[in-house]
Every structure is written in C-alpha cells, then in structure tokens.
C-alpha cells in the first residue's frame, strides 16, 4: 500500500528523516521484527509490509523536529553497527542473515545494559504500531472491526444510557 506524500489538501508535509543507508537499516529491522516461522524455517516479513512500515516510519520521524530526526538518525546508526559489540560479529545489522538478525534483536531486548534495551524499544514500539494498524497484521490481534478507525457498532445506546449498579455514584470527599 502506498502512503500519502505532501499535499496541502492532506496537510501532511511528507517530510522524511532518513537517507538511503539508514532506510536500509530500518527495512532490515522490519524484515526481522515481523518475520514468521514455517515448516521450512524462518520467513522474513513480506516485502510489501517491509516497504510500507519502513516508509511510514520515515514519514513519522520526519514529521518531528530536526532534533528528533537527528536523534533517530543516530539511533539507527548505532543499531546498524552494534552487532560487533552485541554479537561479536563483524557485520552491519542490515547484512546479517535473518536468523542472526533475530538473535541480535533478542540480545538487545534482553540486554542487562538498560540503554541497549531502550535502543531496541525505540524502534520496536513505533514500527510495531505501524505494522499492526492495517490488515493483515491487524487481523492477527483479533480486532473485530474493518479498520482501526471504524467506530464500534455493537453497543446498544440504550444500554449505554443505563445508570451504574452496585457502585457508589460519587467517591466520598470528591465533588
């Protein structure tokens, strides 16, 4: 799925944060984070998902201030080069085979060094939010509406209007 670019109508500037090298790093993280297993072994995240998530993450960080963009550029640089210290492998993260990349991310997540765990979370949180807000990943959560922005239909408004039962209406001492 393509993402929106800049247009006055969408009021989205479409500003980006990362150059080609850092975009490759992000894409390699996405490929590993949302990989799966099959009978024949590890399966990287589908190319379409990888492209969409990496693209939207670029736009997300790009919409922030220059400080934020520079900060995430530095974090992406660190993620790219830390395998040497975390895995002891002389390789960039984006060039590790998928299984080794997963092992690298696992080590970061469970690292005793809090800053390494934080570095992992800085990418995992926004990338996962982007990945799981559209189908088919959204479907994995069991969410039962068409899209994440679809209003809930099931609630009967009459039911919603019923008063509380079995609980004090107002906490003592509070107005």
């Amino acid at each position: 799925m393509s993402t929106e670019g800049a247009s006055s109508k969408s009021r989205d500037w479409g500003r980006r944060a990362f150059g080609p090298a850092r975009r490759r790093t992000i894409a390699s993280l996405v490929e590993a984070l949302f990989s799966d297993e099959s009978a024949s072994g590890l399966v990287p995240a589908p190319a379409e998902l990888t492209a969409r998530v990496a693209d939207e993450f670029d736009l997300l960080v790009g919409a922030g201030s220059s400080d934020l963009r520079r900060g995430f550029g530095l974090l992406a640089f660190l993620v790219e080069w830390l395998p040497l210290f975390v895995l002891g492998e002389l390789s960039r993260a984006s060039r590790l085979p998928l299984a080794r990349r997963l092992a690298y991310l696992h080590r970061l997540e469970h690292s005793k060094v809090a800053l390494l765990a934080t570095l992992f979370i800085a990418f995992k949180l926004p990338l996962t939010m982007i990945a799981f807000e559209l189908t088919p990943e959204l479907g994995l959560t069991g969410f039962d509406r068409d899209t994440i922005s679809t209003p809930r239909r099931a609630l009967k408004m009459a039911e919603a209007a019923q008063p509380n039962e079995g609980h004090s209406a107002t906490e003592p001492g509070r107005g």
Binding site: A6, R11, W13, R15, A32, L33, S35, D36, E37, E56, L60, A63, G64, S66, D67, L68, L105, H106, E109, H110, S111, A114, L115, A117, T118, I121, K124, P126, T128, M129, I130, A131, F132, E133, L134, L138, L140, T141, G142, F143, D144, T147, I148, S149, T150, R152, L155, M157, A160, A161, Q162, P163, N164, E165, G166, H167, E171, G173, R174, G175
Partner: protein, 540 residues
C-alpha cells in the same frame, strides 16, 4: 516590510495556506489553543474582547482526526510525532510524553478523564503556599462552569469493557474500592482509542466545546503560526511576533505580528518557558522552566483464559484513590490494539504468538503523584529539552504500583502478566512480582508514559518562588498572562484537563473584568461612552 491584515475568508485561518505574512491588532492575543488558551479565548470573546488565537499546529476537523489511524494521528497532531521523551537523569525510567500539536492542543488527545483537584491539594496551596485565592471554595464556580460546558458525566457501568471488569473484580476481592470515572464525552460508544482522536466525534475537546464560542463572537484562530517572541515595550507586553509554517516541508517562513493590549501565553508546560526565555524573560523569575512534574504512569497487561475483546468499551471508566496516601492513583485504561501489540515482548514468530492472544488481554494502569524533578531548557533547535530526575520516593511508588496492579490482575483471574519492564518475561504469580519489586533493577528498564506535564511557570506569592501571581499575571512584565498547566503550583495527582480549564476560567473572568473596566474608562475619558452605559462579563 509592510504586512497586510489577516484574510477574512473564515474564522479559522490555516497559516500554511495564506502564503503571506500578516500584521493584526486585537484586544488579546492568545498563544496556544489547548485547554488553557481556548478557554481564555472563549470567555474573553464572550465578554466583547477581540481575540486572536495563534496555534503552532495544524487544524483538522473532528471528522478528519477521528478517521486517522493511530500513527497517522501521531504524525499529524501529536508533538514530535508521539515520540517525545523526557531525558532521564540518574535512576529514572524512560518516560514517553504525550502532547498535542494542533488546534485544540492536548485536549484532542486526552482520554476525556475529568477530575477536580483533590481537596488536600487545594488546602496545601492555601495553607502552605499562601495562595489564598486557590481554595476549593473560591474555584467552585469556575469548576461548575467548566463541567457544564464540556458536559462532564459519569461513565456508565455498561461502558466498562470486559477487560476492565476483570480488574475491578480483582480489586473488589482485595478490598480496593473502584469508582466510576467522569469524562467529557457525549454519545460515546466505547471505541477505546480516545488518545488518537475519537472516531465517533464524542469527545468534547476544546476545539468543539470552547473555540466555536470564541469564533462566533468574532474571534480568529490562526493555525500553523509559530510564535517566536513576546514583544515587550517599556516593561509591558504589547504583542507577539513569529512566522507561519508555510515554507518548504513546513519550515517557518512568512513573518507575522499581532499587537494587543494583553498577551496570554498558553503553550503548555514544555513550550511556555521556552517562549518566555526566547523573549529575553526569566531573569527575575529563577523558577521559570524548573519544578516540572509529570505524573509518571505505567500499565500492566494481563492474559486471561476467556476472550474479553477489551477494545469494546470506554478507554477509561474506573479509578481508585485507595492508595492516594502512597501517591498512587489506579486507573482503568485501554488503547488501540496496535499500540498494545507494540508493548508485548518478543520479536518475529514469538511476538506474533503473544499478539494472537490479544482478545484475552486486559489492561490496567497506575499514575504516581510525583514531587517534581523536571526542567525545561532551550534546545539546539525549536523544541525544548526536558530533563527529569525521578525522586527515589517516586521510583519506589512506581514499583509498588506494578505490584498492586499485578495483585488485582491475579485476583481477577489472570493467568500471566506482561509488566512494563523492558526485556522482562511474562510472570505467573504475585510472589514473582513481589520479588521483582524488591530486586535490584535499573530504573531505565521501566517503561513509563506521562500525560500531564505541569508546573514550569508556577503560580506563587512572589517572583522568587514563581513566575506568575494568583491572577496568572507575570511578575516580570505587565499585561503578560500565562494560562496553561505550567502555572499549577504543585503536582495534583489527577488528570489535569479540568484543573487547567478551571484555572484558566477564573483567570479569564478576572481578565475580562479588568479589560472591560479599562476599555470603559478609556471610552468615558474620550467621550465615546456615556456614564449610564453598562458592561459586564457575566463571569463568576
């Protein structure tokens, strides 16, 4: 360069679209359109003052932002795309901050929770800080006016999600009383994603509840307008200047200036001090930018045996102040499923397995009434740097809160818990959680979020201890007022939306009276008004 007046094609002017700067004059210019600024704008406009509201963020209608996906919302209407973080000093958890950057400000992103300031906080302000005018009684009429206008009502029990009910049941078994939360919603159907904009348009944020009143009385709102300076002349604020965000990729470009009799700064706790510092102020008010409190909060996710579909219900519906003496407030909470998926541990197939259990997850949160430790400083770019050093007492409270939430979850029938600790495997018993509470743990592994930064330009009885007086007026410059969360004298321990709006209401009533009297005196002096004419604000 001579600038033209604002275009007259509509009350809300999108700064990025007018492609030229402007020069305007009004009675009151208000910087920021959130819970403080919008309230001031509406009340002053209703009192007959000509107001202009300048908002750095864009303008979206409720229908537009209600249709955003969560990360779209973050990109378009959250400050720093929702990736804003306090820089922790020492043993301080990583604290993500949620703040709005759009017409309506953070009120567009709240869960709609409405609390009054607890009685003991009011008493502390009066008895120990000498702020006699901030008693509960003296703010009563302002509270009532706010609650009426934003239609504060109790969340009915039928709006509690099944997930919340599980925690409530656990709390009841432990003897922890739970109370229904009050919120500013109308016809809420329980979409469970208020923080990203309501898909049903049910939340009465200030862009819906206050700004239309200002616009109806001739007020103007300019979006995409970055105020860079409060203009001061002979010790008096006389207006503001800045640039519209209409350059390439939203860069500041066309200059603007607004001249006014009164300047009200309402940019929020993080940006108000920055604007004042960039305007050369703060020399005689040393507390500017200091003493920031955040109400650090965390949540625990619990896996139950049954399908709960926790997304069906109000985002927040119950709370408990049972642990108020320990500085902990418990709050029922949920969020968009993609956000919750992001908080689950693991990568690849392992993470997918956790996500597949999402329909059986329940979430509950806790918030700590912190003692401060935050500072806002000028950064290298446009955004401020927020540092925060968590007090050891508050860190203990956070860890205690995790244990309390875990006890509630297990008492409610949870099978395993996902704690807000980076890299922590799921836990399966209260004993395990209690051991963790007392184990050695790097605080930076604890995942926190804060929604209520407060106190960087505190109200106090003198300039040594605060930045504004009890009327919100700057100690440093005449005709400069501050009306946002930055003026709250201490942490309040509850959601700050109604407290900010209430303080702004009181301030606006007084300001409107003063401006009306001043205008009347001028008119009488120049003969344009007869002494029999009457003018009132209608405020309390």
């Amino acid at each position: 360069m001579k600038l033209a007046p604002l275009p007259v094609d509509g009350p809300i002017v999108e700064g990025r679209g007018i492609q030229r700067g402007f020069d305007e004059t009004c009675d009151a210019v208000i910087v920021g359109s959130g819970a403080g600024g919008a309230v001031i704008a509406a009340i002053l406009a209703e009192a007959g003052q000509r107001v202009i509201v300048l908002e750095e963020g864009p303008y979206y209608t409720p229908a537009e932002y209600g249709a955003f996906r969560p990360t779209e919302s973050m990109r378009r209407i959250w400050r720093e795309s929702g990736l804003l973080t306090a820089l922790g000093l020492g043993q301080t958890p990583v604290i993500g901050l949620s703040a709005g950057r759009c017409v309506g400000g953070s009120s567009v992103l709240t869960g709609g929770v409405c609390f009054r300031i607890p009685s003991q906080i009011h008493a502390h302000w009066v008895d120990e800080l000498g702020l006699d005018e901030l008693s509960e009684k003296s703010l009563e009429s302002a509270y009532e006016a706010v609650e009426r206008r934003i239609r504060v009502t109790e969340v009915p029990q039928s709006m509690r999600s099944e997930a919340t009910q599980r925690f409530v049941r656990g709390a009841e078994r432990l003897g922890i009383p739970m109370y229904p939360i009050k919120r500013n919603t109308e016809a809420c159907v329980g979409n469970g994603r208020c923080n990203f904009g309501c898909p049903s348009g049910a939340k009465l944020s200030v862009d819906v509840s206050y700004l239309p009143a200002a616009l109806a009385r001739g007020g103007r709102v300019v979006s995409d307008a970055l105020v860079e300076r409060v203009n001061v002349d002979h010790g008096r604020a006389v207006g503001v200047s800045g640039r519209l965000l209409d350059g390439p990729e939203g860069a500041p470009s066309s200059p603007f200036r607004v001249r006014a009799r009164v300047v009200v700064v309402a940019c929020g706790t993080l940006h108000t001090p920055i604007l004042l510092l960039r305007s050369g102020l703060g020399r005689s008010t040393p507390s500017l930018g200091r003493n920031v409190t955040l109400h650090p909060a965390l949540r625990v996710s619990a896996l139950f045996d049954e399908v709960l579909d926790g997304w069906n219900g109000a985002l927040q519906s119950v709370y408990s102040n049972h642990f108020a003496r320990e500085g902990i407030t418990l709050v029922g909470v949920y969020s968009a499923v993609n956000v919750l998926a992001a908080a689950l541990p693991g990568t690849g197939a392992a993470h997918r397995r956790f996500v597949a259990d999402m329909p059986r997850h329940g979430i509950f949160g806790a918030m700590v009434h912190d003692e401060g430790g935050g500072s806002v400083r000028l950064g290298p770019g446009r955004e401020p740097i927020l540092t925060y050093r968590m007090a050891p007492r508050d860190l203990l409270r956070l860890r205690r809160a995790i244990t309390i939430l875990a006890e509630m979850a297990f008492a409610g029938g949870a099978r395993e818990l996902y704690l807000p600790i980076f890299g922590q495997h799921p836990v399966r018993s209260v004993d395990e959680v209690k051991r963790l509470e007392h184990a050695s743990l790097d605080a930076r592994r604890i995942e926190c979020i804060a929604f209520h930064p407060l106190g960087s330009a505190r109200m106090a009885t003198d300039a040594r201890r605060g930045v504004v007086d009890a009327n919100g007026q700057s100690y440093e410059v005449d005709d400069l007022y501050i009306a946002d969360g930055s003026i709250l004298p201490t942490s309040i321990g509850v959601n700050s939306q109604v407290p900010i709006m209430t303080m702004a209401t009181r301030l606006a009533w007084r300001l409107a009276d003063r401006m009306t009297r001043s205008a009347r005196a001028s008119a009488l002096a120049d003969g344009s008004l007869s002494p029999q004419s009457n003018a009132t604000t209608g405020g309390g």
